[in-house]
Each structure stands twice: as C-alpha cells, then as structure tokens.
Symmetry: C2
Subunit: 471 residues, 2 copies
C-alpha cells in the first residue's frame, strides 16, 4: 500500500498495463533476442525446485554489463515494474519467483573472472560466475574458493542468499567470504562496498547488509571474494555410527576441543540409502559422518587421530578413507547430490526443504526430537546436515495428501529450533517460503528490515514479496 | 535541516532550552546521583585521547539496565536531545564527543557476564564488560575472547566501532566475533539481532549493520560473542629486521603460504625506542616483528620453523622467545602500550592517530612510501602495525606548529591507502575525525548509509555528527 508517511509505493500498485507494455517494447528494441517473453523461458526462470508454486515473470532479460543492469533498473523504476535478479535458479525458497510479475534479470552471462590477486588471496568476479567455474579457474594457481552449496550456483546468487555449505565450519559462509560488492540500487545508481583490505571500520557494513538481502536492496553486479590456498594435505573419509546421537555428540566434542575440521557432514540412514541408490555407493546404511581434514601432512594426521578417539567413545566405527582424489570427489559429489538422491527415493513426489540451525550443544537433542517427530508422523524424510555449524536439513518427500502433515512438521521443526536459540534458516534464506518464520524469529527486528527496505527501494521494485510481506 | 521529503529532523534543530532543562530535571529526579551535570564528569566523558577538540556533553547518566536505556531514549527523543553512548572513552576518533550537546549515556555499570556456554563457545554479556574483565572471567574455563584493541575497552564500544587488534589476523575482528546483539533503537524499542546459531540466512544482517555503526543507529545493550579455546601451545617472540621492507615482505610471504599466525605485529625502530623507554625493555632499535603462534605442540613448532625460514631470507635475525607467561605478557603489554610509549617520546605534545589498511601485497610499498614522507617532513612519527591484516598506524607526535604539516601528511597517507585499494580506517572507525575520508573512500555508498540513518533515526538523536555530516 502506498503510504504518505513513508513515501513508500508498493510495486503491486504499479503502473497500468500499457506502461509495462511500453517498457517491454523499449527493452525488446534495445536488447533484441536477449529480451524474451517466451513461456518456456519464463517458466524456467521461476524454477523453485521445491513445493513452492511457480510464479513466472512476465519477461526475461539477459544482461551483460553493469551499465545495462543500471539502465534496466532505471527503466523498470520509471514503469514501476518489479525486477527479479536471476543467477542459476538453484535457490530453494522461491527467491526467483515473480509473485507480482515483472522482469527476471538473468545475470548468468556476466561470467568473467575479472582479476585474481594471488598475493592477497582475493579475486574479483562478475555475478554470473559459478563456484565450480571459479574453482576451475583457480586450481592451477594453488588456490580455492571454499563456499559450496550443493548446486553449482552463481556467486552473485550465493552472496544474495548468504549461502554456505560443507566447508563453512572451517572457512565460513558468504558472510565471511565477501570482501566487497558492486551493486545497482533501486534508483539505478551503482555503488561499491567494502574493498580489498582484509578489514575496515569505515562506515556502515553495506557489504554484509547486501549479503543475504536476496535481491531486495540491490542487484549484485560484482564481487570481491576471499580465497584460500589449497592445503598441503587433504584427508577425506566416512565414519559410520550406531546412532544419530552418537554422530552428533562426536561432532560436538570435536568442535569443543578445537579441532579445525574442514568438513563434518551428517547423513542419516535414510539419506545413506538414498545416496547408495543415486550415486552407486555401497555404504553401510547407518548414520554416517562425511569428514575432511585440511592441514600440513603432520597436522592433518594429528586431527584424524584426535577425531578417531572421540568417535570411538561415541559408538563410531572405523574411518574409511577416500585416498585417491577421484574417490574423494565421488564421495563429496554424492554428498552434494543428497537433494537429488532424496527426490529419487520417491519419484514424482514433492520435496520440502528445511534448514534449521541451532547452537552446537543443542544439535543432538534437536536432531533426535526431530527424527522422533518424523517417525511418529510416518513421513519419508531423510536428514543431512552441516553438523559442524549446527545446521541440518530434513527433507520430507511427500505426496500431495501429506502436505498438511508435512507443513505441521516443518512448523514444529522451526519452533523447536527457536526454542534451542537457533534460526529458521542456516543457509537457504527466507524467500517466499519462510516469511512467517522470520517474524517469529526476529520480532521487531523485521520492522527494522522493512524500514531499511523502504528507505532504499521506496517503489518496492527489487524482488518484491521476498523476506517479508510489506504492508 | 528538516526536510519534508524524508521526514528527517536534525537534532541540531532540537527543542528549545527549556525542553532540555525539563528533560534533565526529569532525569535527575528519576536517577538521583546517577545523573550529573558536573563539569569534571562531562569533560571526562568527552575524552578523545587525540588532537580532536573536546566537546563535552551537557550531562552524564549512568544506566544500569536495558529498560532504563529504553526509557532514557524515549525521553530524549521527545525532547530531541542527542544521546552519546559511552563505554570506557578509549576510542580514537572523537566518538564520545558531543558536538551538538546532549546526554552522555554511560553504560560502564552494565558490566555483568550474563552467560557462558562452554559447549557452544559463546557468551552473552552486558555492554560495559571490558575485554580484560571477560577474559579474567573465562580463564578458568580454558576459553578466551580474542579481540584486543590496545585499551581495555568495553565490549559494547568495541562492537560499536568494529574494533580489532593484534589477534585479528587469525581470529577476526568484532565483525566476526559478534553472534548477536540487543540494541535500543532511536524510538526506544528494543531489538535482538542474530542469535546463538553459528550461522543464519534469516533476513538482513542487522548484527553486522550495528557493528561499526558507532552508536548512530542504536545503543548496544547486550552482546553474544564467539569464544575460543585457549590453545594447547602458545609461543611468543620478537624477530628483528634490517629493514622495514624486510619485515613487511616476511609478513606477506608467511600469509601467502597459509601460516595460521595468531599475531604478527610490526614496530619500526622509532616505536621500539619508545617502547624500550616506556616499558623498560632492551630490544635492539631496529624494525621488529612481534609474533605469536597458537596450535598443538607439534603444530606451533611447525609454524615457527616455516616462519623462521622466511624471515631469514628477508634479512630477519633470530627469533627471541618469551618463554614464561609473565615474559609473554610483558611483551604484549609493551605492544599494547605503544600509544602511550609514543606519547612519551615528546611529553606534552599532541598525538595524531592514523589507521590505514591496505591489501597485504601493497603493505611493504605503502609503509615504505609513508616512512619516506615522514622523513621528508621531519616529523617524529613511530609506526606500529597489525601487519597481518595490512593495517598500520603512523602516529605523528607533534607540536601545535606542526599541525598543518601533519594534517597534510595524514591526507596523503589516506590517499595512498586508497590508491592501493585500501581503507582509511582498519579498526578505529570514522567518528568525527575521518568524515571527509569516508566520502573519498565510499562515494555514493555514503548516501546509502545516510538513507539508512534517516530511516532508523529520523530525529538524528543517536550520536549525531559522527560517521557523516548530515545535510
């Protein structure tokens, strides 16, 4: 609703159809076949991968430069047409949906690595570069970029959703990985935030305000990212456990003693069954930790010994090593394909993703209570988790008839996480799917978020309908 | 200036004197001797430690609870009287000055450690707890809080200024150390941001927006902080160098090879001379690195060997160890007292602090160019630096006659840092002293910061006159 007191005009009250038509005619004339209203392309750009309804945009435009993005934003602002930034469409909370129509602005062609500063362990990239493309680019330099959500997502999208993944326990999330950003604001102006210094106390932290803002405050058109040297020694393996509690308690104890684990990932027996089928593995179908240790030759072995001792005391079996790089890659590919493996458990069914994250000390209790709830409801719902962060995903694979039951399960899951002082989203973001949970988690803080949104995007044209429902 | 379009009312246009008098009468009646207008107390609360002019507040109030802070903010908002949050007064850019008068809100009596969660490596504290008090509290638990600006600052103040210090190269700054905050906003409402989970993708990162906002967006009344286990082995020492470039290049090489240095601090020969005199040391008066290695017994020794090899190739001498804890403490106390030692070089003189931070690869060039400028101008200006972050402080110790020359030197220093893609402030913040530099560094981004400020503090009552000059 337009409001005189805040000067805020919701894009839902946007200009009449003829303005939108005029805008699209202008864009078509300027961008030729980089602008499209084809149904297939529109539907592909509303890909949600989840139970969320598809809400395709009215049109799709492939931008190639920051200047183009700025021009498009200015034109859309004039016509009050929403803009939905699009990277690879692999987000899980409906971030690329267009509930109020508008233009999907596809940034995947802005895919150049602009600079790698080896000496400073940083690089500057366009937003459409994917994490795998970046790591391919870096490999020969002995460097890597650690943040790895399962999908080969674009780095712009990963920053926009504050993504993390399996390495976050050691290397942090996009919150820590982004040194600076270039972004186009709602009025078409271009700002650069942060910089290449490792730290700065110069003014408000606009970098971290944009990271995780899900395209609602600005469109990320460039990123400066922290890199890391590929460690001297990498040891990967799996460790089976008698109980899921044993696996969780091992994680807790290892972190408490300060082991610098690079990866510690849980899959329960249901997920292992799914992975065996999908990725042609033959792991024992019991709760399992996937592990990786980084360090010097000596340091990595020290970690393994310390870890093994803890695992044994919690009912863990022997660590099984993936010695060759190709075995290691196969193992982690299987972990990253957990989502697809879970879908494979029940072809044609819907999959609900969940994403709670709790303090480490609450992990075992929260997982065990959650698993009991799954069993009580008779749901098919594998559990995987970045347990080093206290973050786990339960993924009910359901028929349409089970929707109501599954939604209640998810509500209870979030309630449980908040009870343990956790969060409704460790890494997927709020999007459309978790708006109610955000309010439960942050209360008055959501008012602060909307005040910022209204100050920076008074027409509400940047990805409207995400993170919060604006009054 | 009041503006109809933004609804922004500057506190400089605050209510007439009788309103302020009425407010102070109300506060005096409610808070008794916790409210004071004594000149000594007012001047002590405008302590700037620097060349910046003292601008004492009109009154000082000692708050003891969040509810009191909220009430005081509401009363001040009604009377349009500025509020300047105060911790220990050890900031270096005039953050606690009161350029438009108002109330200094002293939070030092909110000094309780509310909870320590050993298993989660976090704690929750009130804002007046100092870093040393927290570490005293934690020691017996085998835990520590790493962020250590030289002064024994309050944790609320450290968060507000995004402080760091000698451990940041390994453990990060307040940006990384704060998991969540409680803050009182300009309308007296209380929000909690973040939480106790290690990561979250739930909405805008209000925690990191408040960290470094220098009291201009909210008053921090509680903090949840990340802790670390005290390492099994701590090795500290000093390493002398023939040249300052050799010390910088050693730092660069050690970081590039991924050595997890806990501390790597530079002091030039002028600073070493000052430290020898002030802290009764007898170090060779040459450029020197102060070092600390944390790890397992094996791991720490591995690091030392790798470091020593690099240092030798850059003209470094033998590492001299501080073996006993008391020697180690003496060494780091001397490093932390660098500011006072520098003042001691020329009793009665003024000291200008500077705080640039550049990408590591530019460190040697930036320090060497800066030192040449110091020498050309004939200034007395020791250099110390958190060189692992690319952050260094040149501290001209000057007579009133040298002010003009020193200001030009500082202008050139910031220009140089920006030329190297660095920042005007690594850790001290903007305050009153660096407003012009922030604009040079962030351009249009400053407009975004002021838009946020105006949205969240429309009356401009929270620490006005800091970070930016509002039109």
């Amino acid at each position: 609703m337009a409001s005189m007191t805040t000067g805020f005009v919701d894009a839902r009250l946007r200009a009449p159809g003829e303005d939108k038509e005029a805008l699209f005619a202008t864009l078509a004339a300027r961008f030729g076949n980089r602008f499209s209203m084809s149904q297939a392309l529109r539907e592909q750009h509303a890909n949600t991968l989840t139970w969320l309804m598809l809400e395709p945009p009215d049109a799709v435009l492939f931008a190639e430069t920051t200047a183009e993005v700025a021009d498009v934003v200015k034109l859309c602002a004039k016509a009050r047409v929403p803009i939905i930034p699009f990277g690879t469409g692999t987000s899980l909370e409906g971030h690329v949906n267009a509930p109020f129509g508008g233009l999907s602005l596809d940034l995947s062609r802005m895919n150049r690595v602009l600079a790698v500063h080896e000496a400073d362990l940083d690089c500057t990239v366009e937003p459409g570069v994917t994490r795998k493309a970046l790591n391919d680019h870096l490999r020969d330099l002995g460097l890597f970029f650690p943040v790895d959500p399962g999908a080969d997502a674009s780095l712009g999208g990963m920053a926009a959703t504050r993504a993390s993944g399996t390495n976050a326990v050691r290397y942090g999330t996009m919150r820590e990985a982004v040194l600076g950003l270039e972004a186009v604001l709602a009025d078409g102006s271009v700002i650069t935030t942060g910089g290449r210094a490792r730290k700065s106390a110069a003014g408000y932290d606009l970098t971290r305000l944009l990271v995780g803002s899900e395209g609602t405050l600005g469109i990320i058109t460039g990123l400066t990212l922290k890199l890391h040297g590929i460690p001297e020694t990498i040891l990967s393996g799996v460790c089976p456990f008698e109980t899921i509690a044993g696996a969780c308690n091992t994680t807790i104890a290892a972190l408490q003693m300060g082991l610098p684990l690079a990866r510690i990932e849980l899959a329960d027996e249901v997920q292992i069954r799914a992975c065996n089928a999908y990725s042609h593995l033959s792991l024992p179908e019991v709760p399992t930790l996937f592990l990786e240790f980084h360090g010097t030759a000596l340091g990595a072995r020290e970690q393994v010994e310390a870890f093994s001792e803890i695992a044994r005391s919690e009912g863990g079996g022997e660590l099984v090593w993936a010695e060759r790089p190709e075995d290691r890659n196969k193992l982690w590919q299987a972990r990253h394909d957990a989502y697809w493996a879970a879908r494979g458990l029940r072809p044609g069914a819907e999959l609900l993703t969940t994403d709670v994250c709790v303090p480490i000390s609450a992990l075992a209790a929260c997982v065990v209570e959650t698993r009991a709830d799954v069993d009580r409801l008779g749901l098919l719902a594998p559990i995987v988790g970045h347990v080093g962060d206290g973050n786990f995903h339960v993924m009910p694979v359901i028929t349409p008839e089970e929707r109501g039951k599954a939604r209640e399960f998810v509500d209870r899951l979030v309630e449980r996480a908040l009870k343990f002082e956790g969060t409704c989203s460790g890494e997927h973001g709020i999007g459309e799917g978790k708006i109610a949970y955000l309010a439960a988690e942050h209360g008055l803080g959501v008012g602060v978020m909307t005040a910022i949104k209204k100050a920076l995007d008074p027409l509400n044209i940047l990805n409207p309908g995400k993170i919060f429902a604006l009054a």
